[in-house]
């Protein structure tokens, strides 16, 4: 059994490394990078929603904050991608703490709405504090990352190919962190909270503390994703905190299969690649997302990941 795991793991790694060499067009590679960014977001949202069982409707706020942290850092302090990569999750984490502290005392639906309220407030500020944030037009001209070692290397991540490998590295990092955290005592605490919060409290788990930790970590993941987004698309705008991203993220996690690692990845890839491939306009995309989200909640509560598991199980029987 273990050998099977190593083999399939190796195959996946090879495929992932080789993928952009098969798809040579800039457009195809762009789709891959774009999926990668959404994988980061989906994993972050899944961390809060799939494992701890909370429904943070305000989650896009961390994405936006991450993007703006690096954008504002660049505009006013001249910071670059690498600093942003560290600063963005820290800022997002701080906001995660500030938002989480009052919100996490509340039960499911109330929590969802309150986080959304915080998110709307941040969006309002981003839109209206024009002197600082440039308002609804956002901040543009954010530079691509560079690696500079004077005399040796002067490399800029200009093309989709480089970006692909950068994103893959970040995704791998996210997956590693996710995996290690979930398969640990901390992970058990979060699962316990999701499955039966009262019982978790009754066996000595400080549920508020653990919900907060989960929320902050999820926020940090969203923040880092925002930084990556900002330096790839070179802009940060208030609509990152808006409805399109909220819906897309949620659809990806739910349809992909929450509470698993593969689910959000599948959801992110499928729902970035398919609409792009079908040349669907944003609105058509959303209609289909909404419909599939509804159908999958009713008929496929385990999501695509559940489907994959069913297929795997059927394979084993034959």
């Amino acid at each position: 059994m273990k050998r099977e795991r190593w083999v399939s793991g190796a195959i996946i790694v090879i495929v992932v490394l080789v993928l952009p060499l098969i798809f040579e067009s800039a457009y195809a590679r762009h789709i891959l990078v774009s999926s990668g960014i959404f994988i980061l977001l989906s994993l972050g949202l899944n961390f809060i929603m799939g494992y701890t069982g909370l429904t943070p409707f305000g989650y896009p706020v961390f994405f936006g904050l991450g993007a703006y942290t690096t954008a504002l850092g660049f505009t006013y302090l001249g910071t670059d991608f690498w600093i942003g990569l560290i600063a963005a999750p820290i800022v997002a984490g701080i906001f995660g703490f500030l938002i989480g502290y009052p919100s996490l005392r509340l039960r499911g639906p109330y929590f969802a709405i309150v986080t959304m309220a915080f998110s709307e407030i941040v969006a309002l500020i981003l839109n209206n504090w024009v002197s600082f944030t440039r308002g609804s037009m956002g901040i543009s001209g954010i530079p691509h990352p560079k690696i500079v070692i004077p005399g040796l290397i002067d490399f800029t991540f200009n093309h989709e190919l480089e970006w692909y490998y950068l994103i893959v590295t970040v995704c791998a990092f996210y997956l590693l962190v996710n995996w290690r955290l979930i398969h640990s005592c901390a992970g058990e605490a979060w699962l316990a909270i999701r499955e039966n919060e009262d019982l978790a409290e009754a066996v000595g788990i400080h549920t508020f503390k653990w919900k907060m930790i989960s929320f902050v970590i999820g926020a940090m993941m969203g923040g880092m994703a925002g930084c990556v987004y900002a330096h790839y698309y070179t802009i940060a705008s208030p609509d990152l905190v808006g409805f399109y991203y909220l819906t897309t993220m949620f659809a990806m996690v739910i349809i992909g299969g929450r509470g698993t690692l593969l689910g959000p990845v599948l959801g992110a890839i499928l729902f970035t690649a398919a609409p792009e491939y079908l040349r669907a306009a944003k609105t058509m995309r959303l209609i289909i997302f909404g419909l599939i989200m509804l159908l999958s909640i009713i008929f496929m509560p385990q999501g695509l990941n559940g489907l994959v598991n069913d297929i795997r199980a059927r394979f084993r029987r034959t």
Binding site: T55, A117, F250, M293, I298
Partner: protein, 289 residues
């Protein structure tokens, strides 16, 4: 003083719209224990139905109100059938997600069908404002307020007095017992969603002539009605009524005296404060009443 009165009146007008939509939301919560994300969509659909009825079919504005309510109410029942009934017995979160899926679908469908360009729902009243005590009021606004107030009174009466109303209250208290006592729970569900959708649609038609209508207009209304329902107590109709007015006035005052750009933030901040310090609502009592 004039600014104060003007803002007060403006606030009450927009506030009663919030109340209408919020009452629909809170009734659905009271019966189903779910948060209906399509509540804002009903608002939008109502306005558009009225728009098409009046513009394309020459129906009178006044007639378009009940017609829009009926059409939207029917859509509401379809929503219940598809996104709620199919998931009976699952956790609350699931319904938020399923109604969210529907909301996204319907809203973007509207966008595709009708485009994003804002339209004008024509008002049957003369646009010249009436002046009273230094306050400017259009006849549309006066009509809006009276019409909404009457509807709210009727709904309260209905729920208190009629047989279905009593069945609704029974189901809100304890669904399984109500079913055991012979109450047709399915019928109650249909009526509830119908009322919820209808009220929201009416609000859309009433407000339509004052602000432009476009497919995304339901968003902000949804958020505002959440705020009202949380302030007033989930399931509390009287609470939703008063708090809708309070929210409208608070926003109006904030816009007038502080900063009009951040108008929407006031309601959000109030809601956050209420949830932190009086989670059962300003009036202190959640529960269906």
């Amino acid at each position: 003083m004039e600014l104060f009165l003007q803002q007060l009146v403006n606030g009450l007008v927009i506030g009663i719209i919030y109340s209408l939509v919020a009452i629909g939301l809170t009734v659905i919560y009271g019966i189903f224990d779910i948060i209906n994300m399509t509540q804002g969509t009903f608002f939008m659909i109502g306005a558009f139905v009225a728009y098409f009825l009046t513009t394309n079919f020459g129906v009178s504005y006044f007639l378009s109100i009940p017609l829009a309510m009926i059409v939207t109410g029917t859509i509401g029942i379809l929503v219940e059938r598809s996104a709620v009934r199919t998931l009976r017995g699952q956790q609350n979160i699931v319904f938020i997600l399923s109604t969210m899926g529907l909301m996204v679908m319907l809203e973007n469908l509207a966008l595709v069908l009708w485009g994003a360009t804002p339209r004008q729902l024509p008002s049957p009243f003369a646009p010249e404002p009436v002046v009273f005590l230094g306050v400017f009021l259009t006849r549309q606004k006066i009509f809006l307020f009276l019409c909404a107030a009457i509807m709210i009174l009727l709904v309260k009466r209905f729920i208190k007095g009629s047989r279905i109303g009593r069945s609704m209250r029974a189901v809100a208290t304890d669904q399984s017992t109500a079913a055991l006592m012979g109450i047709d729970v399915n019928r109650v569900f249909i009526v509830t969603f119908g009322i919820g959708a209808g009220l929201s649609a009416a609000a859309g038609v009433l407000l339509g002539p004052i602000f432009d209508i476009e497919p995304a207009m339901g968003h902000l209304t949804l958020v505002k009605s959440f705020i009202v329902v949380i302030m007033g107590g989930m399931g509390n109709i009287t609470g939703a009524f008063y708090c809708g007015l309070i929210l409208g006035v608070a926003e109006s005052m904030g816009a007038g005296y502080v900063d009009v750009d951040y108008k929407d933030a006031f309601g959000l901040i109030i809601m956050i404060l209420v949830l932190l310090f009086r989670p059962r609502g300003l009036l202190g009592r959640g529960g269906f009443r």
